[in-house]
Amino acid sequence: MSEVLLDIRGLSVDYRSSGKDIHAVRDLSLYVKSGETLGLVGETGAGKTTTALSILGILPEVSARVRKGEVLFCDDDLLLKKAKEMRSIRGQDIAMIFQDPMTSLDPVMTVGSQIVEMIRLHSAVSKKEARSIAEGMLELVGIKKERFDDYPHQFSGGMKQRVGIAIALSCNPKLLIADEPTTALDVTIQAQVLELMKDLKRKYDTALILITHDLGVVAEICSKVAIMYAGEIIEYGTVEEVFNNHRHPYTDGLFNSIPDIDSDQSQLSVIEGLAPDPTNIPTGCSFHPRCPYAMEQCSEEVPPVFYVNDSHYVRCHKCGFTTKEAVE
């Protein structure tokens, strides 16, 4: 049933700032099958948003540069596409939901017209038809269609995010990228929006890349998860594997840093130090200065990909397993 929809191979993206090169994404590879939900987890500066923007081809032109790699969408390399072709893909085949609902909607257009705009960009329907599709989308995300002519400022944060979802889904894209869609929302509203997203995913069988730093959200909605650190994916696998059988010391540290709601702890176990300066990434394994298990090899050699099993890999010298062939 599931073919590979998105296949990123060896993507490297740099930003140039004040004469220095910031290695935002380094040799990143991942794939998403149709209907699958991949969680992309990492802290600030790990490179998650840059990855998302690279897929859509909307990196800032002046400062960002894709140094190498391929982004294959249905076997077509998006990085090689011309601007016109990308414009037709964005919205129609791949859509994005942004983090801050307060600023991602145009304040001077009604919410309905923003959905209509998306629809008419990609299909030759009449205004009337587009309006009726848009009204359908609003109802789908739980907003009364009478609010078609309301402006964004008349909605709360949660509802604005729903509008964002409606716009993203209006052309029934194959892949949806959601960049921290619920981070700016209150917990009870977040619950509503997550339930909505789960519902819609089931209905439309859309593949989803969910970018977040919240492992709780990943547990709720994702089937696969990739953990990013300093521009690389250091652990990747099904949610079961990564949550219950994680191998990378960073992943371990990440899980242990979160206060456990089920138990009483006196002190949280902590990963010492800070995420590396992206202009000055440590040699060898980028995590070695903070790793409690670091060996000499870690500062000298970049760890290769080790397969724990055919759906779970880790970039770590300590986790030496026999390398297996990649399935895809």
């Binding site: 919240d214 709780g216 206060p259 002190q267 902590v270």
Partner: protein, 314 residues
Amino acid sequence: MSNSLLDVRNLKKYFPTKDGLLYAVDDINFSLSQGETLGLVGESGCGKSTTGRAILRLSEPTAGEVFYKGENVLKCGKQRMKELRSELQIVFQDPYSSLNPRMSVCQLIENSLAVNGIGDSSERLERVKEIMAVVGLEQRLLNSYPHELDGGRRQRVGIARALVLNPSFIVMDEPVSALDVCIQAQILNLLMKLQDEKGYAYLFISHNLSVVKHISDRIAVMYLGRIVEISNYQTLFKNPKHPYTKALLSAIPIPKLGRKRNRIVLKGDVPSPINPPSGCRFKGRCPYANERCNAEEPKLKSCGDSFVACHLYE
């Protein structure tokens, strides 16, 4: 009764707006003892930040009393208030906007002392170095500027600035919300360690329940300017009573698999604190609302070892 360090009674803060009166904080009562942490949780607009600021008179309360060691802080004159400020401090949420970008770390921390005329400049410098060591800031950062530091270090500067005055009570206004999870853990550990060593009392304001549970002794849940439930942290999580508390707890995404969640998804949005509805303010979203909730506002009453404001528990 007054073994407590801080006693807040009937605290109110209303803001006049063109659409009517905004009831940001509406009759808040609680007390806090030395060395204790009271967590104050709620979602945006519930009034928790305003409560913290009102207690410190950074935003003058509309009504109520705040007794600190028996003295009513809200009735103090300017001079006495300035003296009290050394004992009642605050750590802000955003480490990016709570530090003056043109002042070095040393100046930022020293300023607290200089403004209160404490010591001469060499004594102050010593004190600054001391407190930097206490909060885990490297001495080499003395002359660094905020933009050169990451979020975690900036927040440590914010904490140092509050602690250098040797306060007894500190309002922590979402101190870790803007930080990454790993840094968050470091700062939480620091705050807890300092409390153990120095006996600070914290009012820990946050919307993140896991964090609040970790650090608080008691927790108060706020909704639309009112406290709807207060209990100790274990009871609140094991045995939540108010329907809003239950919904809040069920909404938290938990980073564990295979948890059967009976998620209570609340209908609708938080109503506006301007001209709040009559009767119980939660009635519009409550799955158990009935006639009585429409007409009568529930008061905070004792129920087991908690206090709840809900007709279901009377």
